[in-house]
Amino acid sequence: MYELARKALGMAKKAGAEEAEIYYAANHSTGVNFKKDALENTKDRFSEGIGIRAIVNGAVGFASTNSARDLENAVEIAVAEARIRENDPDWVGLPSNGKYPTVSGIFDKKVEALELEECINYAMALVEGTKETPGTLPTSGGFNRARSRRLILNTNGIEIEEESTAVSGFVDVITVNGHTSTAYDFAVSRSLDIDFYALGKSASELALKSNGGIKIEPQKTDVIFHPFAFSDIIEEALAPSLDADNVQKGRSGLKDKVEEELAIPELSIYDDGLIEAGIETSASDDEGVPSQRTTVVEKGVLKTYLYDSYTAGKAGVKSTGNGSRASYISPPSVGLRNFIIDYPMTDVIADTESGIFVNAIIGAHTANSISGDFSVEARNAFTIKDGTLDKPVKSLMISGNAFELLKHITGAGFDVRKVGGIITPSIRVSDMSVIG
């Protein structure tokens, strides 16, 4: 398919496209997975395909395929779809003038060269790590490595090709005696710098510590969200309102709020496609716009929404490099890059007299993405007493509002973690409503 990308651009012009874009993506991944403490399977996956955007009279058509013999058909359908649609007055044009920054740390030759035996060893390290803490068993998990290649071409002269690698480990554990409790841990990186053994160990320790949870009274209290928990809330309840598309369509709780105070002044938030070795780092976004660092919240004040080239054209601003695609099957839409939560760090648990520490949450995807309201179940929660984690809490519901929450942040830990693209420390929020 790679060899056909340039040809496809020509086909689109020939079929009558005034502007056209070819998005080629290939991915090769190898995963070694275990169930309980035994390796269960190895998966090798090759995925490769082309997505075509064709523009006729300010209207866009899109088609995609992974089959060389369907490519010409797909290109023609993309053009035909564009012809069906009415002119879109908000369409400005495909990106042009790509001058790209240099990014580093996103491709590691060693990841690409890993032999199956080594992949198996990393998966086994996850399992071995869980065994260091007696009384727990892994339930499932695995090691994965991937190598991706992406080529974007358009009729405005954009041509950008990038290669990247990724490795990840995931482990879910359960206690074997007494009350049942579970925990998980995971990590993802561009290179082989993950300590898989430590990952298994930390999941096991957390499951064990969570055993024999107590019931607590409904109350308003300080809650410290671990990066896993906080990033879930950010992604599901805050990020959708920063998406310029939602703002323009009246589906954002942050509409008309630029330059307003959104959060306490100690908080800043950056969206950054350039950081070294970031999971969302690349020279360009998924439509060929150069990546950049965008200040989203500066000292508590909302500075901008996030734009892809279409929403930027509609608003008369520059794209922030947030054109994003899940795969070659979808046209671009606004998505987060590396999303960095910045708040002065302290030993936040030690500074907390009483409250709740929450490691993970379930149900964040049920949040109201417009109003920011959420109601989630806490996992691996602990009471905090005199600056230390005290007792595990069996069952706990936390409800609140993402925008209100930003105004009530009172602390952050030193434990910054890359949860996929979201980079955040543990965050303490006052006056959260919890029901035990």
């Binding site: 190895t42 339930t139 109601s375």
Partner: protein, 446 residues
Amino acid sequence: MTGIMQDIKFYDCRVIEGSSTSIVLDNGKIEEISRNFSRGAGIRALCVGSWGYTAVEGEIDLKKGVEAASKLAFSMNANTPKEDVELAAINSPEIKNLPEIRIDPRDVAIEEKVDLLKGIGASAKVEGVHSTKVMYLESEFKIEYRSSDGIECAYELLNVGFAVSAVASENGLYQAGRESRFGYGYELFEKENVLELATTAGNTAVALLKAKTPKGGEMPVLLDQELAGVFAHEAVGHASEADLVLEGDSILENKIGEQIASPLITIIDDPTLHEFGYYPFDAEGSQSKRTEIIRDGVLNSYLHSRETAAKLGGTPGNCRAQGYSMPVVRMSNTFIDNGNAKFEEMLEEVRDGMYLIGSRGGQVNTGEGIFQFNAEKGYLIRNGELTELVRDVSLSGKTLEILNHVSLVGNDLKMTAGRCGKAGQLVPVSDGSPHLAISKALVGGA
């Protein structure tokens, strides 16, 4: 290679070819028309106790694919040998009872589809609604299955459906209403009154603006068919998936034959129904069949693949995959069977509590048997009567406690189509239930 193949005791291939169309209409304007054409295959090979899996997109050389998967299985077994995996024996499936399609959506012009969506969008835009979104999805695919056991079978299926959402806002407050229907054949749009559904979505969004957020706490509740269906699927169905049971990640482990629920409760998984989770055979070529997970409150059966059926004893038929992914144990059409209570009777039973309606999704921890679901909306029940509308309400608790606290089961079973995620794969499913009265549950609110 010959050396390796001697140790491969089983392999199978699924070749899938298909195309899909999606149209997105936003505020009456076409936002996206996209088509996709795809072909690919997923190939499994088993060496003693290790599985190798290869997925390939594009042009497929099956022989090479089988060799690649076999090599993975072989080297894994060489590195970390495991106990032999047995597979429950199956016969070639009978392909029967495929959903009949009266109007092939591919025969309907795209302009007509766009007009239909515009009508739906306009119907959702009732007074107070300021934005609407309508999505149309159509997909057709052909699956060919063959295995080293000599099973060869194939079928084609065509899905269509739509989803509409409406957003109303007032004083910086936003509320949404959603409706969707999925099925087989374009006649879906004749059978269902889609314009009325769209208006319902719009009205819900507007009504929720005025709704209060109630105080949470423990109380008796009445669940509507959709929310009770989500409970059946998420809390009970997932825990009955035999792979999770074998992993030690299910609250239902070692409970077959035990009374785990109120005797009023029967929960069934049935892929032969022409609901959204229909299939004639699963991703291992096993004939689809109805399974009673819980019968009269007694845990009766888990859901099985060939591997889990051989390990735990049971019948395969619930192994499914999204596209070229490796098949895992999944549900199909999962529902709580009808009881005989009338709605009014159930209100009277709950007396003072909450009526929870619809679902904005939920999650469950199958190992600990705890869950959390957010309702779309609710009504307070006072003195056995529905009173004011409430929003931002959720239901959480322990699966087994809720199953035992069911005090009445309605007679108005209704199914809802959706997509279920597990192991990073989405598959079409449906779930449903009649209304359920529950004597005690934890409701989350303000």
